[in-house]
């Protein structure tokens, strides 16, 4: 009887631990908050979504392309921040598509790079879990599927 009660507790413990270990701890939380407040004139603590996907549009094109495709294919409960501008047709079409399904913010002046945020590539940031993050490189999407 005792074992029957303890087993679910142990399972819960492992599940919660494993989901916390999926992302890495983000070391620039205060800087990111300051960036968000300055750029969008809005406190990050007041946004509804728990997940932010930050896309520096001029960064690694394979990572950007894959991130845009994944956002179109899936429908995550996330807010998207596009950093910088692009005149490339293939990106613009995909961003139009994404804007239909996600709340989207444009940081067209690339203010992100005026703060220490360590986001040189598309990044997924989970606010509620002490700002865990995943850099959205090609190989990272398996982790994202597990997480979301």
């Amino acid at each position: 009887m005792h074992n029957v009660l303890i087993l679910p507790l142990i399972l819960c413990f492992f599940i919660s631990c494993s989901s916390y270990s999926i992302g890495k701890k983000y070391n620039y939380q205060d800087d990111f908050d300051a960036y968000f407040q300055f750029t969008f004139n809005h406190s990050i603590s007041k946004i509804e979504e728990d997940i932010l996907v930050i896309i520096p549009i001029a960064s690694c094109s394979m990572c950007v392309e894959r991130t845009l495709d994944e956002l179109i294919k899936n429908n995550y409960d996330a807010r998207i921040i596009v950093v910088g501008t692009s005149h490339e047709e293939r990106y613009l079409k995909k961003l139009d598509e994404i804007e239909k399904n996600y709340p989207l913010l444009y940081d067209s002046e690339a203010e992100l790079f005026n703060y220490e945020t360590d986001m040189g590539k598309p990044t997924l940031l989970i606010l509620s879990k002490n700002y865990q993050y995943i850099t959205l490189e090609e190989t990272a999407w398996k982790k994202v599927y597990e997480l979301l």
Binding site: S61, E89, R90, Y115, E116, M119, K121
Partner: protein, 340 residues
């Protein structure tokens, strides 16, 4: 730290403090009024601009103040990192995919170099850095392998206009195997009179080659930089690389003025990472200087330049004395600076 160069010749070097005077300004308002971002090239005494928004390549002739559209390129699948115009072709260098494309006057495109040929080009898009095509006589490209996947350093390779290797020269410094130098891992180069002059951003020395034979090292050290400029490990994060560029002092472009027989070497000075609050200082906002060398690579002196007034990445020389440098005004203007 081993930096692959004889440091003793460059230690404790003192030289004269120079002054500068702005002698002339050329303005290119008609270009800048619609150009969100321009790449600038000096070709045959005139300037050419690639408008990254429209794909137009324009030529400006300062003698008659005319601007003509030379080529119009398709940018729907990406903007080239660099370009070069010869008499009958335009060459476009792309980072992703790594390729050099030649377009003839009929608009026919031909890939004359691609990563499949074993060379690897790197770029740092977040820094606005460019791969560069330099007109080295009949050699068009500075395409070379900085290192392979195991960080084994490779010699430079110059390509001829058919995209085949003309010759290799100058083993790259061994230090590139151990460390990375964001922005300055590739050297600035000049080619004239069969000589290649190579200046790395992390070294006070400059190397001179005659075709593929090494001739000598010369010291061209700034009074405002340490003799040794350290690098970062190859696993440094994006933020570490970015901070390096803000904080570090290092050497940038080297230019040669044939009329005067003078070399000009640009020096970015160190600056604090942040001035107030959490905002980072701009990468290139601090003070900088110009080292002036004579035809024999002897330092004439160094001139400290004001912060935030000039864009020291956009420089060129022509048949006038001095160095042309873009200023940071809203319109695209170049000033002819002379040093004394």
């Amino acid at each position: 730290m081993d930096v692959g160069y004889p440091q003793d010749t460059c230690d404790q070097m003192q030289h004269a403090a120079l002054h500068y005077q702005s002698k002339e300004t050329i303005s290119l308002d008609t270009i800048s009024s619609f150009a969100s971002k321009c790449s600038v090239k000096q070709i045959d005494q005139s300037l050419c601009f690639l408008n990254n928004r429209t794909g137009g390549i324009y030529q400006h002739d300062p003698n008659v103040s005319s601007i003509t559209l030379k080529y119009s390129i398709n940018i729907s699948d990406g903007v080239p990192n660099d370009f070069w115009i010869s008499n009958d072709h335009v060459y476009l260098l792309y980072a992703q995919p790594n390729q050099l494309i030649r377009i003839d006057s009929e608009g026919n495109q031909e890939i004359i170099f691609s990563q499949n040929q074993g060379l690897f080009l790197q770029t740092f898009p977040f820094m606005g850095d460019k791969l560069q095509i330099a007109p080295f006589g009949n050699l068009v490209s500075t395409a070379f392998s900085q290192h392979d996947e195991q960080y084994n350093v490779k010699p430079f390779k110059l390509l001829n206009i058919n995209g085949t290797t003309e010759y290799g020269f100058g083993q790259q410094p061994e230090i590139l195997r151990k460390y990375q130098f964001p922005l300055i891992g590739r050297p600035s180069r000049i080619h004239h009179d069969q000589q290649h002059i190579i200046a790395y951003g992390f070294s006070p020395s400059i190397e001179v080659y005659h075709r593929d034979s090494f001739l000598n090292h010369y010291c061209a050290k700034s009074m405002y930089l340490d003799p040794v400029i350290s690098g970062l490990g190859h696993n440094a994060s994006f933020q570490e690389r970015s901070n390096y560029i803000i904080e570090k002092g290092f050497y940038l472009g080297i230019y040669y003025n044939v009329t005067e027989g003078r070399y000009y070497r640009i020096v970015k000075h160190p600056q604090p990472l942040k001035s107030a609050g959490r905002r980072l200082n701009k990468r290139y906002d601090g003070t900088w200087s110009v080292i002036v060398l004579d035809d024999s690579f002897q330092t004439i002196g160094e001139c400290i330049m004001p912060a935030n007034q000039y864009d020291y990445f956009a420089c060129f020389t022509n048949d006038q004395a001095g160095l042309w440098v873009a200023n940071k005004s809203d319109s695209l203007q170049f000033e002819n600076l002379q040093f004394y």
